[in-house]
């Protein structure tokens, strides 16, 4: 690794950003730069329209230095869904320490947790997070997962302990790997960004803003059964809510860390200046295939399953199966004053919907009105938005 790369890695490590923003591990200059991240597994509740608080299992970001006792005292019962989005860099040594805090709502349940690094080329079964083939982390114990990712792209992580249950209960998120190519604007045809989806060699995956969005579903009967110490038959799976980053529309367009959604901190709102090249890092950890559309803006699929497409294609409808990931680029169109215009604190904007094609999945628990798996792309008049400083950044 060259000195310059080390500096870049150091600069990238902005410290821990809590809640709705991605977690970049704290890095130090070393043979391979390090990223260290602390996650805790526990339970909690989230808010969905049309029902009371929904019981979840999930992860939360926790400080690495704290004792297990302090973590239990401060974070038990405070899981977030979607789990923190993790932002790491190619060739870094990534250490992720998982602490199992136990469950407030089910003190009778002594489930372990794990983290499965979904899609990573795994050099050791020890770090694959499958409790039947490696280890599980029991309550009030810790384990550190180690990876040195070499292939940039969009991945997922989730608990693999009784995974049909723990995944549905909410222990799911996106982890993405930035390419070694990041850091210079020479390859960017527009010479204005230093970020790329892949090591493309020609700037074809350069982006100005990126958004990591996890598609998921919520089968409330399973969550309610879990809370009430009942068994749910998983082959009865038939979800009522369809989420993006753990929220349903219109929650999806609230900003990151909105106070009304304390345990769903991650927004899916996509705000862009005209001409911005926007990268969508999409992944699906529901149990159903989804057809996603962005009417009015063609989507260019540049990568799939953390593999760059040698032949990117343009589409209007994107199919994403469970466990699959796509990297999609689009260019924000010019502001169109004759199209419907809305105004917020940043000025006037046109709205596009990034939404599921299946109307049943655009509803919250079957009730009328737009809901479910949808969010807005807002393209502003002029260029009022500053440069993005973290993935999925929102601007009030």
């Amino acid at each position: 690794m060259k000195r310059r790369d080390l500096l870049k890695a150091g600069a990238l490590a902005g410290g821990l950003l809590i809640g709705g923003r991605a977690l970049q591990g704290s890095a130090e200059a070393a043979a391979n730069p390090e990223a260290r991240i602390g996650l805790a597994g526990t339970d909690g509740h989230i808010t969905l329209p049309g029902r009371g608080p929904l019981y979840i299992f999930g992860f939360a970001t926790v400080p690495l230095a704290a004792s297990v006792g302090d973590l239990v005292a401060n974070y038990k019962g405070k899981a977030q869904h979607v789990a923190p989005i993790l932002d790491v860099k190619q060739d870094n040594d990534v250490y992720i320490t998982l602490t199992n805090l136990g469950l407030v709502g089910r003190p009778d349940l002594v489930d372990a947790h794990t983290i499965h690094w979904h899609g990573f080329r795994t050099p050791s079964a020890l770090f694959d997070g499958v409790p039947e083939a490696s280890i599980g982390v029991p309550i009030e114990r810790q384990f550190t997962y180690f990876f040195r990712p070499h292939n940039p792209g969009t991945y997922m992580y989730h608990c693999h302990f009784e995974d049909v249950e723990h995944v549905q209960m909410g222990m799911t998120s996106i982890v993405f790997v930035r390419p070694a190519q990041d850091g210079g604007s020479a390859l960017d045809p527009l010479h204005r960004t230093t970020t790329y989806a892949y090591n493309d060699g020609d700037g074809s995956t350069a982006y100005d803003r990126h958004f990591a969005i996890l598609l998921n579903e919520i089968e409330e009967r399973e969550h309610d059964a879990d809370e009430q110490i009942q068994e749910f038959i998983f082959t009865d799976y038939d979800p009522q809510y369809f989420t993006l980053n753990g929220r349903v529309y219109p929650q999806t367009i609230l900003p990151n860390n909105d106070p009304s959604l304390p345990y769903q901190p991650v927004s899916s709102l996509i705000q862009a200046n005209p001409g911005d090249r926007v990268l969508l890092r999409l992944a699906n950890l529901g149990y159903l295939q989804h057809a996603m559309q962005l009417p009015g803006i063609p989507m260019k699929v540049v990568g799939e399953d953390a593999t760059p497409h040698s032949f990117p294609y343009v589409t209007n409808t994107l199919y994403i199966g469970p466990g699959e990931a796509r990297d999609v680029l689009f260019t924000a169109p010019p502001f169109n004053p004759s199209a419907p215009v809305t105004t917020d604190a940043r000025g006037s904007y046109n709205t596009y919907l990034f939404k599921n094609r299946d109307f049943r999945r655009l509803s919250n628990r079957g009730s009328p009105g737009l809901g479910g798996m949808a969010t807005e792309v807002r393209v502003y008049q002029g260029s009022p938005l500053p440069a993005q400083t973290s993935v999925g950044e929102t601007y009030a």
Partner: protein, 555 residues
């Protein structure tokens, strides 16, 4: 059941020796081909067993004279073959076979909507030329909404002419020892129960409860082909590879995937990406004819589709405890602070391939010698279940074996002639500075004769090889290696003598077949003994063993 099938096939061959389908020589793992150009199938009912103790009525195609099996036999033909399939119908309603992906299918039988049909108790025949290599399915073309769901399906493999080790072309060359079928299916037992009892079934009420690979649900998928306790489900799907190595192991495994189920299935391989090279019997190509294969960590296979994948497993960093260890803070967690689910694990207890660690007391390990296990499963996780129980259904395991196979070092050393000079068997664990030393006899032709004992070698292991590194206190002495044959209680010499002098010499030997003779059974289960005999001088000497190692491929 396997025996009956073979006997039946023998009869069949006696009556029609030409090109009739040959009952497969069944490998323990991997694809089980029924080779031939003419196949006799019988549509017949039978029951499968599910891991949760249920049994489900299925209809399937069986080899004529053979037992009921689900799915139907894997028909393997060569490109260009004229293929004939005779169908006899032991069901009570007309059935047929369609061959999606094959063109110009002719035949005889009673007329049907999609294909000639065999009436109840009657027959039909299908003929086609297998013009395109690839992975295909065959299935019922009669009342398919019921009959296909009932299980009337199977896989058809067309191998490229002259190249059985290609899926399609040179770019899809694979290791023929590592060819796997992953045939996905789903079952709504309510429909099967309705068919069994004549009860009504509403076809818009589909609720799949069982999800299978090659007709079995996890964990039955891990069992060998043809195990006696799954008589109607003869095909396992454990995937086994060794790490990619440009010289030693350059060829990928071939995973032939097919979805004969009702719904699409998103399949997720842990461990490494899989490379999709073909779909529905056609290689993936760009419009210009270039390579359009693609790597995936999950890929949805549509209902009725086939996909072919090449798979190599690579550790990009070549982690190993010697030259490239994991950071010390993560390599050796304290397992007493962690949990092994249900106290029963496939884990080796080590971070390194080919190593075993010490698991907490009371933990049962299924791990043989430090191999990896990674689940491959549907990521529609409701399909990763058996009805209501998780970690079942549409799943199997990838097993990554250590590159050199399993390695055992001698745990004991016993002297047959001569006396102990110094050292213990521990000195034989590695080629280092520690030696196990034996004084020769002190009269006549001097001899030092001793053996090392190995334990834990599983029955059914193959590829046994012995490595001995040692030296003597005086110049070159003929040294022979022997292995204990338990059935006759005799030593069997392995190869010619090697001259071993005062510096270390390494010899590698493989015992003659059958290797099962050398693995103890009963009270001696898993034991192997290797003898080192040094002789041929009238001067006293000391033989000095440095390394005594056994490698083998675990079953």
């Amino acid at each position: 059941m396997r025996k009956a099938l073979l006997a039946a096939a023998a009869l069949l061959v006696a009556f029609a020796p030409s090109a009739r389908a040959q009952a497969p020589a069944v490998p323990r793992q991997g694809i089980v081909c029924t080779n031939g150009t003419t196949f006799d199938l019988t549509a017949t009912p039978g029951y499968i067993e599910t891991p949760d103790g249920n049994s489900v009525l299925m209809w399937s195609y069986a080899l004529a004279g053979g037992e009921f099996q689900s799915p139907g036999p894997v028909l393997c033909v060569n490109e260009g073959d004229s293929v004939t399939v005779h169908l006899h119908n032991d069901l009570t309603e007309p059935v047929s076979i369609v061959f999606p992906g094959q063109t110009g299918v002719g035949g005889s039988g009673s007329s049907g909507l999609l294909a000639k049909e065999a009436p109840a108790g009657g027959d039909a025949t299908y003929t086609f030329t297998a013009s395109q290599p690839g992975t295909y399915v065959y299935e019922s073309g009669t009342d398919p909404e019921k009959q296909v769901e009932m299980g009337l399906y199977g896989a058809l493999i067309v191998r490229p002419a002259g190249h059985p080790d290609y899926a399609y072309d040179a770019a899809t060359r694979f290791d023929p020892q590592r060819e796997y079928l992953v045939l996905l299916s789903d079952i709504d037992p309510d429909l099967h129960h309705a068919v069994e009892t004549g009860a009504p079934y509403h076809f818009d009420q589909l609720r799949n409860r069982y999800f299978a690979i090659n007709g079995r649900q996890f964990p039955d998928t891990l069992q060998d082909n043809g195990v006696s306790w799954l008589p109607a489900q003869p095909y396992g799907s454990l995937i086994r590879v060794k790490p990619y190595n440009a010289t030693g192991n350059p060829l990928p495994a071939l995973i032939r995937m097919a979805n004969v189920g009702t719904v699409n299935h998103p399949f997720h391989p842990h461990g490494n990406h899989i490379k999709e090279v073909a779909q529905d019997g056609r290689p993936l190509r760009t419009p210009g004819g270039g390579d359009a294969s693609s790597e995936h960590f999950a890929e949805t296979i549509g209902s009725g589709q086939t996909q072919d994948y090449l798979f190599s497993w690579t550790d990009q960093d070549s982690w190993n405890p010697g030259s490239n260890p994991f950071p010390a803070s993560v390599a050796s967690p304290d397992y007493r602070n962690l949990t092994f689910k249900d106290g029963n694990t496939w884990s080796s207890g080590s971070a390194y391939l080919g190593s075993k660690g010490t698991l907490p007391v009371g933990t049962v390990s299924q791990n043989i010698c430090g191999e990896w296990y990674f689940p491959w499963h549907s990521h529609a996780l409701n399909e990763f279940t058996n009805y209501d129980a998780g970690f079942g259904g549409m799943a199997t395991l990838l097993r990554v074996d250590p590159p050199g196979g399993c390695t055992a070092v001698a745990g004991t050393a016993s002297i047959l002639a001569g006396t102990l000079n110094s050292g213990t068997a521990t000195a034989l664990a590695a080629a280092d500075t520690a030696y196990y030393k034996v004084n020769s006899t002190v009269s006549g032709t001097r001899t030092a004769d001793w053996y090392g004992g190995f334990t834990g070698v599983p029955r059914g292991s193959t590829g046994l090889a012995v490595t001995y590194t040692g030296r003597n206190s005086i110049a070159a002495l003929p040294t022979t290696l022997w292995i204990w044959k338990w059935s006759t209680s005799t030593w069997v010499q392995m190869g010619a003598a090697t001259g071993v002098g005062t510096s270390d010499v390494t010899s590698t030997r493989t015992p003659p077949s059958p290797q099962s003779d050398y693995i103890g059974t009963g009270a001696n289960a898993g034991k192997v003994r290797v003898r080192v005999l040094t002789t041929g001088t009238t001067t006293n000497f000391v033989t000095q063993g440095n390394l005594l190692k056994l490698t083998y491929d675990a079953p």
